[in-house]
Amino acid sequence: MGMTTRIECIFFSEFHPTLGPKITYQVPEEYISRELFDTVQVYIITKPELQNKLITVTAMGKKLIGCPVCIEHKKYSRNALLFNLGLVCDAQTNTCALEPIVKKLSGYLTTLELESGFISNEESKQKLLPILSTLLEELNATGACTLPIDESNTIHLKLIQLRKDPPIVQEYDVPVFTQCKDHFIKSQWDLTTQQILPYIDGFRHIQKISAEADVELNLVRIAVQNLLYYGVVTLVSIFQYSNVYCTTPKVQSLIDDKSVQDECLNYVTKQGQKRASLRDVFQLYCGLSPGTTVRDLCSRYSQQLQRVDERRLIQFGLMKSLIRRLQKYPVKVIRDERSRLPRLYTGCHSYDEICCKTGISYQELDERLENDPNIVVCWK
């Protein structure tokens, strides 16, 4: 976990009543040069307006993240205690995941100071040095750290990598596990997800899962979106023998990349059969083209399909973007003045979506539209 976000140094800085801003402790020692601190001290021990804000400054090839704290009280010399516990990384590092940690640490120290004068007491302040060491070591090694400070206080920290926001999940999307289902400890997931997990088989679409698992549609969508966020599932489209697919430039990776090759051949080979040959599988993928349905492929390439499960072939191809689905979009181009504006036949809604929303079957929709001279169909 700590691999991508390596912390180079942890420091504790404060405003000394006579010496001014200084670094009291840093681990490893002497990491922050005098020069560097001079340049950035205005962002470490700050004016009141910037207190309690997460400040990240990049200078001299390093990134310093801190959260300046100010505690006002008559008992302190100068009536205020100013300090900042910060992290230093290389300037190229993405430090977003470290920010909650810095904030939490500043919160912890503030609480400790308010409760027991942890920092203003010279004796207990010395405990900071081993604490910083442990933090640095454990956060870099495992991305987590649990540290008892004294009898009543413990610090819990965890580096959480932020991921990209996942796309919206539609009712006609099909979730498929990217790894074997059994790898996951299901009891760790929330109840909704646990209820729908058995129905995620890479062939059922969201609407079907919702009906069969007896869970409300929107809940299923959100639960699957959550799984998407963590990279546990990916989305493919509904499988039908009338579907049309075509290859993408990525299909060449099947030839170039041995690991993709192995994964593919293992995935698509029919149960209990000898491993399919690369040539057969590649020919099958290349046989997918606009105008060719899966049914056509099966009849044309029956020999190649002897050891290959066509449904898993399509599934793998979609998951790895070796192929893409061509969807049909009906557009009503000619209409007379009196008829209503087309609601679904605008070119924005695919057959999949229309069938899902209206409940009619693909063939039925096809029949309806084929006989309508005012409607053209675009494939993309």
Binding site: T39, I55, K258, P290, V331, K332
Partner: protein
């Protein structure tokens, strides 16, 4: 990311994440700056000279001006976003203005006017949800003060400016490439200002003006107590303030910035994220650059605006080569032909083409010809009510876009549209329509790719690993453009000749015809990279008995990796399409053929995920 309030779900089925379905980048907030700020540091200390947009003081939590604000007053605008655990939760996201408005002028001056040791480099500072980026610049020589000899007044000490910083404030989650672009713009403005300062103390004069107005407004406020923004008064009086405002406005809208600092030096800049947009998503600049480095002489340049419009946008002192190129280029001409017609070196053509593409004025396509096969782009906007549909009917009366697009649902070559009974004008119009659709990223072109895959031998037991395919074994023969092609770095030598390029394999040197021992040996050498089994299978093909065919096959072997399309082989080897197609057909038992878009230029029609 676990949800705690499943009951509270909106009816319109929007999920918690309001992103579009494509996982590609979104334009909008993340690519626009929130604010532009100019600060200086000098003998008068750190000063904020100008900021835009300026605060509407009526909405400010305290109606005191920055100067009168108590240093002990709590700054409340930043709170409420974090809870005690340090988790940030966007309950009601602050508007962009509020994010930066929370910073007073004084604090901005303190944090943005940096120390001199980090001048001349990128400066980046992130505070909560705002990211500041700039290029602090040192002014080394104090301005020379001209004092008149007859002036009886005592010499006044001109306040000296040590450094200045033009800073852009962005949302913290802006893409790194956006941040880097903003830094670039800051640097360019800084260079211009530094130059003008040395030449005629431009910056000092503007700064003096700005500070004087700020002092004036503060005094006025103290007297009659009504808060005003000094920056509003500065705008009409200072050219520099207006330039900065213009930069900000342009970045937020078109992404093209064109300033004339001191009405003299031009600073031009474009934000690729705003310019290269397909639908609601932008093409990442790195992908753009990669594509541009890989273009070949057989590609063509398609202008996105009319020749006249484009020429009108060029500055007066632009390079004549650029003008010649724009006047000569056409959708049917490849870059090599363009070089000949415009009488320019091929390398120069590449550079100008890359420049035009970068500025969003052109894209790279394969030159139009009747054998080209086109299909609808997966990201094409085919909606009946789109603005594109309207534009199309205006441009081509009597035709509607969806019907035209439906014709490209299946891959179709331009030749198939040809109807001998139709007037030639119809055909010309079809070409125009195709060009129109290409310009608006509605079509992709499909190319044929070939891969050598020999049927596995049957007598081997299935446990033996198959031979790694040819693609993995044949080392990368570089067939790319001269490596000198990069943005803004002209080279002097011209490596490419204007005739068909000679490749390393010197296949052109093979003597045509004849079964000479030389040719036979060549063929053998070329086939040597294959495994024994592969060689056997190939030699057993009936077509291989013909030495000519076998030689041609062997010569083209290194193309059969699935990375070179038909047209590229035609171009490199000076062969006709029919020749190649016949060859593929003869050897079809060992070749697998597929067709898809060219990944090098497909970025212009559909952003890659």
């Amino acid at each position: 990311m676990m949800f705690n309030t499943l009951a509270r779900l909106p009816d319109d089925r929007k999920s918690m994440y309001s992103q579009s379905q494509n996982s590609v980048y979104k334009t909008g907030d993340k690519t626009s700056p929130i604010s532009v700020i100019l600060v200086t540091s000098g003998s008068r200390g750190n000063k904020l000279l100008f900021r835009y947009p300026f605060q509407r003081l009526a909405e400010c939590p305290s109606s005191l001006t920055a100067k009168q604000r108590s240093p002990y007053a709590l700054n409340t605008t930043g709170d409420g976003l974090e809870d005690q655990d340090g988790d940030s939760r966007e309950q009601s996201p602050l508007t962009d203005e509020q994010l930066v408005a929370g910073f007073s002028d004084i604090i901005l001056a303190t944090i943005l006017a940096t120390k001199s040791d980090i001048c001349g480099k990128k400066f980046e500072l992130k505070i909560d949800n705002v990211r500041f980026v700039g290029h602090p610049t040192l002014l080394q020589h104090p301005p020379i003060i001209q004092v008149s000899k007859t002036d009886p007044s005592p010499k006044r000490e001109m306040p000296t400016m040590i450094l200045f910083n033009v800073v852009f404030a962005l949302r913290a989650n802006a893409d790194p490439s956006v941040i880097s672009c903003m830094h670039n713009l800051s640097r360019r403005i800084a260079i211009a200002l530094q130059h003008e300062e040395r030449r005629c103390q431009y910056l000092t004069r503007e700064a003096k003006l700005m500070l004087a107005i700020q002092d004036e407004i503060t005094t006025m406020t103290e007297m009659d107590g009504s808060p005003q923004s000094p920056f509003r008064q500065i705008l009409p009086k200072c050219k520099l303030a207006r330039d900065l405002k213009e930069a900000y406005d342009s970045l937020c809208t078109t992404g093209v910035v064109r300033l004339h600092i001191n009405n003299w030096l031009e600073v031009s800049f474009c934000l690729p994220h705003k310019i290269h947009r397909i639908g609601g998503n932008y093409i990442p600049p790195e992908a753009l650059e990669r594509s541009l480095k890989a273009i070949r002489p057989y590609h063509a340049l398609l202008l996105l605006e009319s020749e006249k419009a484009l020429l009108g946008q060029l500055p007066l002192d632009c390079s004549p080569a650029m003008v010649r190129l724009i006047k000569t280029c056409s959708a049917v001409k490849n870059l090599q032909q363009l070089a000949q017609d415009a009488d320019l070196a091929l390398l120069q053509i590449f550079q100008i083409a890359a420049h035009l593409v970068y500025w969003g004025k052109a894209i790279i396509i394969y030159p139009l010809c009747e054998n080209n096969v086109y299909m609808l782009s997966p990201h094409a906007n085919i909606c009946l009510y789109s603005s594109l549909a309207e534009q199309f009917s205006q441009q081509f009366p009597g035709h509607d876009l969806p019907s035209m697009l439906a014709k490209f649902s299946l891959p179709v070559s331009l030749a198939e549209f040809r109807n001998p009974l139709e007037a030639p004008a119809q055909e010309a119009q079809l070409i125009q329509m195709v060009v129109w659709m290409l310009q608006r990223r509605l079509l992709i072109q499909l190319h044929t790719y070939v891969c050598l895959l020999v049927p596995p031998s049957e007598d081997e037991p299935g446990l033996r690993d198959e031979d790694p395919p040819l693609a993995a074994r044949v080392g990368g023969r570089s067939l790319s453009t001269p490596s000198a092609l990069s943005f803004g770095s002209p080279t002097s030598s011209d490596d490419m000749t204007l005739t068909s390029p000679s490749m390393d394999n010197s296949s052109a040197e093979l003597l045509p015809g004849g079964d000479s021992p030389l040719n036979k040996r060549m063929t053998e050498t070329l086939l040597a990279s294959l495994s024994e089994h592969e060689r056997q299978v190939i030699l057993n093909i009936p077509a291989a008995q013909n030495p000519e065919d076998l030689r041609m096959f062997a010569r083209l072997l290194h193309y059969f990796r699935g990375h070179h399309h038909l047209e590229e082989i035609m171009y490199n080897e000076n062969m006709r399409r029919s020749q190649l197609k016949t060859l593929f057909d003869k050897f079809r038992s060992v070749l697998v053929v597929t067709s898809h878009e060219d990944p090098i230029i497909s970025i212009f029609q559909s952003p890659m995920e």
